[in-house]
Amino acid sequence: MILAALIVIPLLAAVAVAAGAPARLTSLAAAVLNAVLTVAALMAFKTGEVGYQLAATLFTVLPSPDLKLSVGVDGLSLVMVLLTALVSLGAALASPSTVARGSLRLYHASVLLITAGAMGAFVSTDLFFFYAFHELALIPTFLMIGLFGTGDRRTAAWKITIYLGLGSLILLAGLAALFLNLGGTTFDMAKLTVAAQTTPMAAGTQSWIFLTLLIGFGILISLFPFHSWAPQAYACAPTPVAMLHAGVLKKFGLYGLLKVALPLLPLGSQSAWVLNLLLFALLGNILWIGLVTIAQRELDLMLGHSSVMHMGYIFLGIASHHLIGLTGAVLLMFAHGLSIALLFFLNGVIRSAAGTTHFDRFGGLAKQAPRLGLMFGLATFASIGLPGLANFSGELLVFFGAFKNVAAGGTLWLPLATILALWGVVMSAVYGLRAYRSIFMGQPGANPATVPDLTTTGLLTALVFVIPLLLLGFFPNLLLDLVRPALAALHG
């Protein structure tokens, strides 16, 4: 019942906020409660056991075809639940107690709905609810960008709505095709996996369905060239929404690829032409968007682009089709979720104080705001993949995995792609350190923007992200031990 509570608590809190409960307090209480429950789930979870744990069926929608609201976690989904709990805690801490326009109740209720949707998507063991919960999280996301965003928020909201709406539809088509081709009798993901193994589809069918899913999920993940919605949306989004979407919701697509597309379509995901397309696309994420990120002069747009770029590494881990690379991809999903949420949080602190994030308006900020400087420095170091922070461990495994599998195919294309992707590590350092240099180091510009240092709450919010990033940087096995059995079971 722990897992059901993870969905129900934010839902109830949203209703309570809408009904008049004190908004910030209620959402904070819900986030804390969810974090505690997640820890309880982690402790109840038995590492190394295959299959869903803490499983429960809450409600049967249809007996045949088998459609029910049921929850359960394996190591992979548990990691995503932990990510959601941490980011939503940070987002709740970062949510304001007053808003300049619109209703504070709506604001907090929306953040809670996003959390509930994300939790639901990761704990659902039923394909239908896996999809539906994600949709539930998207609607308040669009709403909040449109209502509470900054800058050209209407255009941004419109763009992300169309883009992700279309992505969801393509995804839906792919999932429907998958469902029908696997017998059309059940939405239960475990049973679907068995069906995929006992009565495998033809390789050609698999390839086409996989491609559909790849495009559908890909749009949600901002796979090149379907990325252009992301930077602007994040730049305009209110801080908690940018944190939750870039940190958690974007990982839904990757989770879907690992949990649904790869295991159910083993031949399709490894067919040469699909793999080649994916490699081109992910190199687009890393090299093309890497260069675009270097060209940015505003922090929020730079962060948005960098988050698009980093998806490339996770895709590389997936494309490696090797357990080392897949494990690295999951570690990187988790680490990136935390580091980008932290960066968007700090970006929000800077933007709300200075009214701008343009590099030219800042300089030497570490002097007046040392805590902010330290936290931003740690987040930047995490994001550019420095050892000691979790992102590095993930990237390293991705590179090992992708480089390894080359030998099997006898082609040098995957190692070559790995080497090209490695150049991205240099590009990340270029834009990351340039941003830090412009904002926090050097002399204040001619027209300096002032930013106060992090408050105690602000410091606490940052620590929600920094502590796990450091912990997993030093002890990545903590997470790998959870993930590896689950991935091994899914990907044989």
Partner: protein, 607 residues
């Protein structure tokens, strides 16, 4: 041996750094004590480690860092042998003296706590490199020394020049590390291992494709090119002099920059393979050319720290050349002696700069021999070792072994080495004559006073190994000396060194004695062959211009066409609803509704 002792040596400085970071504000004054305490302890423990190890070689594992079963095991483990313990003594000995020197040098600095935390972080990272038993762990600490170097170069981060220098150092090293990582992956793929012992036994037992091996070695070498500032990635080191001078002494002269050489010595079993001859050749030439190039640049610099920085580049070039000539003992011997006399010279320059009220231009000094007699004496001892005054200085012995190796190898590299020796004698004579003799040429030098004792003490201590560090009774205890082959050794290298020394010193003396301005003006050398300018334009016209173009293409084509196409589609889909309130949300709600309905419809129709 258990992993306890090396693990303590490794993590003690990290604890010190963490402790300083977590000290509450009113107690930040304790930071120097914490940092100095940890470095003194690690020095003592390193001595114990060295005494216990002797000439044994052991590998101990502390624990698993990444455990993916039989697919991949990356451990935190230590390969402890004479090379590692000798290097640890160099690092902790000079580290201790630099910490002591910093107590005085950084006394009034606002960011003192941050500075000492950075030094401790550096000691942690450097220890990791030295003790690592595998390439992955070495890479981790390799990056971490880069971080501490970044933090310390940028210590005075409000200064634009310091901020730029820190960034440049990090980015240049990242380019080297890009190659290093590829090299690690290639070796792992070829041998299935990342540990030094595992790789060594694998390459002994089978043949790796020669092309693959050569590429792997050269990729690994890229890491050394970055860290040890060899051509063409040397540009960061002179700029790194923006950091506080004790940092220049410890990190950018004696230890971290030597890590590239150390790493290549750790993997020198690869270079000894018959198929690695080409790679070794490339490495030797990279070192030789760097030695010559940097010595040429040093002859026309005016900033005392810049002269010493180019001198460091040049000496590192000697070491790299020795590695490429398969004379790893000679390389480490020179690394060992150079660490002492170059740390001495840098700390000496720090004392001079401190005494001259932060003046770094040698042309604004003059007559310092009378004002700062003790500092001058120690500086001259360091200079004597650097220019290899025969028989009585450490530098003479170690440089001789490298020149012997180059001579035995034959070819042009020997002449490059001898020419560099001549240039070294010349530019150091220039520095000393201009700074110490004559009369003060500026206010700062005129009012210079001898530095406090706590700054003088490390200079005096360092002067001792700068003299005796090359004698076999001393050096032989800490490292494996190159095999002496007196019977067959040619006298050519020794004669060449003596000629180089005598002519270099004489030329410097004749040209610069009694001068108030530089009589030689060679802008190609003063501007360092315009390589910085070349790189700056490559970055702004290459990377940045391309980035801007791609940025616009991304907006115009991908975003423009993509979104325009999509909005057309959405206009059709959501057109009716849009009219209600011009709302995108309704359109989305419609799409979402469609999705759920379609899926339910499929499910129900099967029911």
């Amino acid at each position: 041996m258990t992993a306890l002792l090396p693990a303590t040596i490794l993590f003690l400085p990290l604890l010190a750094a963490a402790k300083i970071l977590l000290l509450p504000k009113p107690m930040k004054g304790l930071a120097p004590a914490v940092s100095v305490g940890s470095v003194v302890l690690t020095l003592i423990l390193s001595l114990v480690l060295w005494a216990k190890t002797g000439s044994d070689s052991t590998t101990v594992t502390l624990g698993s860092w990444i455990n993916l079963g039989d697919m991949l095991q990356l451990n935190i483990g230590f390969k402890i042998n004479a090379l590692a313990t000798g290097m640890m003594l160099v690092v902790t000995f000079i580290g201790t003296l630099v910490h002591l020197f910093s107590l005085a040098y950084m006394k009034d600095d606002d960011g003192k706590a941050r500075y000492f935390a950075g030094l401790s972080l550096f000691m942690f990272s450097m220890t990791g490199i030295v003790l690592a038993d595998n390439l992955a762990m070495m890479f981790i600490f390799w990056e971490l020394v880069g971080v501490s170097s970044y933090l310390l170069i940028g210590h005075w981060f409000e200064k634009n020049s310091a901020a730029e220098a820190a960034k440049k150092a990090f980015l240049t090293n990242r380019i080297g590390d890009f190659g290093f990582m590829i090299g690690i992956l290639m070796l792992w793929k070829a041998t299935g291992s990342v540990t030094f012992d595992g790789i060594e036994s694998a390459v002994r037992g089978m043949t790796v494709d020669p092309g693959w091996l050569t590429a792997a070695i050269l990729c690994i070498f890229c890491g050394a090119v970055g860290k040890s500032a060899q051509l063409p990635l040397h540009v960061w080191l002179p700029d790194a002099m923006e950091g506080p001078t004790p940092v220049s002494a410890l990190i950018h002269a004696a230890t971290m920059v030597a890590a590239g050489v150390y790493m290549m010595i750790r993997v020198s079993f690869l270079l000894a393979l018959p198929d690695a001859a080409t790679a070794a050749h490339v490495i030797a030439w990279t070192g030789g050319l760097t030695a010559l190039f940097a010595a040429l640049c040093a002859t026309q610099q005016n900033d005392i720290k810049k002269i010493l920085a180019y001198s460091t580049l040049s000496q590192l070039g000697y070491m790299v050349m020795a590695v490429g000539l398969l004379a790893k003992e000679a390389a480490f011997f020179h690394l060992f002696t150079h660490a002492f006399f170059k740390a001495l010279l840098f700390l000496g320059s720090g004392a001079i700069i401190y005494a001259c009220h932060h003046e770094q231009d040698i042309w604004k000094m003059g007559g310092l021999a009378r004002k700062l007699p003790r500092t001058t004496l120690t500086f001259l001892i360091g200079t004597a070792a650097l220019i290899a005054v025969p028989f009585v200085t450490s530098g003479w012995y170690s440089k001789e072994t490298i020149l012997h190796a180059a001579h035995a190898h034959g070819g042009l590299l020997f002449y490059i080495g001898a020419g560099t020796a001549f240039l070294t004698a010349f530019y150091m004579t220039r520095l000393c004559v201009v700074a110490f003799l004559g009369t003060p040429r500026a206010h700062g030098a005129d009012h210079a006073h001898e530095v406090p004792k706590i700054m003088l003490l490390p200079l005096v201590i360092l002067a001792v190994p700068s003299v005796i560090g090359g004698f076999s009774f001393f050096a032989g205890r800490f490292l494996t000396l190159p095999p002496a082959d007196h019977d067959h050794a040619s006298h050519v290298p020794m004669i060449a060194s003596l000629i180089a020394l005598a002519s270099g010193v004489s030329l410097g003396w004749l040209l610069y004695r009694g001068r108030d301005r530089d009589p030689v003006r060679i802008s190609l050398l003063a501007r360092k062959f315009f390589i910085d300018e070349l790189y700056a334009s490559l970055v702004s016209w290459g990377q940045d211009a391309v980035a801007r173009i791609i940025h616009y293409v991304d907006i115009l084509i991908i975003d423009g066409l993509g979104v325009r196409g999509l909005s057309g589609l959405a206009a059709v889909v959501g057109g009716g609803l849009r009219r209600l309130q011009g709302g995108n949300l309704q359109a989305y709600g419609f799409l979402f509704g469609c999705g759920v309905v379609v899926l339910l419809f499929i499910a129900l129709s099967l029911h």
